[in-house]
C-alpha cells in the first residue's frame, strides 16, 4: 500500500508508454512532432523542387499537381521552402532552448545547492531578465547585434535561461530536504556530486516537459523575428520570412500566407500538446495507484 508512485525506471517507461497511448492529445502531439522532425530530415536530402529555383513565368500559382502548395512571388515551390524552413525553425529553437537549459539548469541547481548570497544573486538576475517582455527584448538584442539566425538564437536563448533556472531551483530545493539527499551528505558527498547524482536525475522529467514547451515558444519567437526581418536572412527559407513576403500579396495569392501560417500553428500546437501530455504522464500524483 505504501509503495505508491515508486517504480523501477524501465518499468516506469513501459508504464508511461501504455498510459500515453490512451491520451489523444499526447498521441497527436507526439505524431506532429515526429512528422515535423521527419520532414526536416527529408528536406536535407530531398525536396520536391530545388528550394531556390526561380521560375518567373509560373509565379504565384495556386496549389497544383506539380506544386502541391503552389509557388511564391518568384515561382519557387512553397512546399519545398516550407520543408527547408522546418530545418531552420528546429535548428534555431533547439540551440536557443539548449542555451536556456544549458545555462539555466546549472544556475538553478547552484542556487539551490549553495543558498545564501549565491542564490540571491542568481535569483535577482532572473527577476531582472523576467522583467523585460521577452519578444520585445529579443527585437532589441537583434537590433543591436544585427539581424541573422545566430543573433536570434542568442536573443531567444537568453530569455530561456531564467525559465529553466527558476524551475530547477524550485524543484531542487524540495529535493534537498529529502532524506536520501541528507544520507548522501552524511556519506560525505559534496554538493556538486549530490546535484549530479541525486538532484538532476530526479528532476529530469520536469525539465523534459519544460523543454518541449519552451521549444514551441522558441519556434514562435523565431518566426516572429524573421517576420520582422530580424531573424533568418533571405534567401535562406524561414516560416516567418515567408509570412512577411506573403503579407502584401494576401489578396492575390492567399495560399502564400495560409500554408506557412498553418505550419507554425500546427507545430506549436503539436509541441504544446506533447508538453501537456508529458506533464500529465510524468506527474507522480497521476501515476498508477495500487
Amino acid at each position: 500500500m505504501s509503495e505508491l508512485g515508486r517504480s523501477e525506471p524501465a518499468a516506469v517507461w513501459r508504464e508511461y508508454w501504455t498510459r500515453g497511448r490512451g491520451s489523444a492529445a499526447f498521441v497527436f502531439g507526439l505524431g506532429v512532432t515526429a512528422l515535423l522532425i521527419a520532414v526536416a530530415l527529408v528536406s536535407l536530402v530531398w525536396t520536391p523542387h530545388p528550394i531556390d529555383a526561380i521560375d518567373i513565368p509560373n509565379r504565384m500559382q495556386p496549389p497544383s499537381a506539380d506544386h502541391w502548395l503552389g509557388t511564391d512571388l518568384y515561382g519557387r515551390d512553397v512546399l519545398s521552402r516550407l520543408m527547408a524552413g522546418a530545418v531552420n525553425s528546429i535548428a534555431v529553437s533547439l540551440v536557443a532552448v539548449g542555451i536556456g537549459a544549458g545555462l539555466g539548469v546549472p544556475l538553478g541547481a547552484l542556487a539551490a545547492a549553495r543558498r545564501g548570497l549565491v542564490e540571491e544573486v542568481v535569483m535577482r538576475f532572473n527577476d531582472f531578465t523576467f522583467a523585460f517582455p521577452a519578444l520585445l527584448s529579443a527585437v532589441m538584442i537583434t537590433a543591436v547585434l544585427g539581424p541573422g539566425a545566430i543573433n536570434s538564437i542568442i536573443a531567444i536563448g537568453i530569455f530561456n535561461i531564467p525559465v529553466f533556472a527558476r524551475l530547477t531551483r524550485g524543484a531542487s530545493l524540495s529535493l534537498w530536504k529529502r532524506d536520501f539527499v541528507l544520507a548522501a551528505r552524511v556519506a560525505g558527498k559534496g554538493r556538486t556530486r549530490i546535484t549530479v547524482e541525486h538532484i538532476l536525475p530526479n528532476i529530469a522529467s520536469l525539465l523534459i516537459v519544460q523543454m518541449t514547451i519552451q521549444f514551441a515558444l522558441a519556434i514562435l519567437a523565431e518566426a516572429g523575428l524573421s517576420y520582422l526581418g530580424l531573424g533568418t536572412q533571405p534567401p535562406a527559407p524561414s516560416w516567418g520570412k515567408m509570412l512577411n513576403e506573403a503579407q502584401t500579396l494576401m489578396s492575390l495569392a492567399p495560399h502564400l500566407a495560409i500554408f506557412p501560417g498553418l505550419a507554425i500553428m500546427v507545430t506549436v500546437l503539436g509541441l504544446n500538446l506533447l508538453g501537456d501530455g508529458l506533464r500529465d504522464l510524468l506527474d507522480p500524483r497521476l501515476r498508477r495507484q495500487r
Partner: protein
Amino acid sequence: MSGDDVLLKVENLTLDYALPRRRLFAAPPRHRALDDVSLTLARGESLAVVGESGSGKSTLARTILALEAPTAGRVTLCGKDVFAASPGELRKLRRHAQMVFQDPYGSLDPRRKVGWIVAEPLDALERVGRAEKLARIAEVLGSVGLKESDADRFPHEFSGGQRQRIAIARALITRPDLIVADEAVSALDVSVQAQVLNLFMDLRESLGLSYLFISHDLAVVRQVADRVIVMRDGKIVEEGETEAVFGAPRHPYTRALLAAVPRIGGPRRRAV
C-alpha cells in the same frame, strides 16, 4: 571515563535559527533549537535522546554529524573537533559516524539500485577497487540479513523493514564506530520494528558499535539504550542510566512523559 574510551563528546552546543523578519529593518527574531547541550558517549555505549517534537533531538543528531553548523559549542568525534576540521579531515571523520533515518521510503534514492545506494559512503569516502567494493557490499548486506543478489534490485521491490535494513547496510559499509539512528524504527509496523531492533542489538554485539538513538518512543528506548537523555525545548532536563530513569524519574517532565505512555494492563478509559 578515560580519554581513550570517549567516542563522542558534545560540549555546550547551542544552535539558533533565524526566523523570518517581522519588520524590514529589525533584526530577525531567533529560535534557540539547542540550548547549551553537553553529552558524552563512550565507545561501545548506546545512548538514547528522547523528547517530543520540537525538543531539539533531531537537530542535535544533525549537528553532531555536521549537517548543521552550531551557534556555539564543540563536537569532538574520535578526539577531533568536527567543526574545526578541514573538509578533508571532516571527510575522514565521516567514516566513523553514519546515520540511519526515519523514513525507509524517503531515505533511499528511488532511481538507484541497492548496491549503488549501499556503496555510496564508500564511493565518497574511501578509494577501493571494484572487487573490494563488491565484497564489502556483499558483507554488509549479509550482516543485515539480505542476500548478495539484492544489490541488483531497486528499493521499491522491498518492504519497509527490508528498506530499513538497506539503510542500515549503507551506514555500516565504512565500518563506523558510531551509528546515529534518528527515529529509525518509528515508521515500521510492530512486528517489523522488533526485527530491526533485534538487528541493532545483534550488530552492536558483533561489531562493537556505539549508538545514538533519537526517539520519541520510550518503550523502544528502554530496550536498546544503556543511558537516556531527556530533552525539552532544546535543553537536557534529565540524564541517567536507562533503568534508573524509567524506574525513578526525577524531573517532573520525565514523569509526565512516562505516565502518558499507554500500557497494556494499565488503567482503562472505556468500559462500554
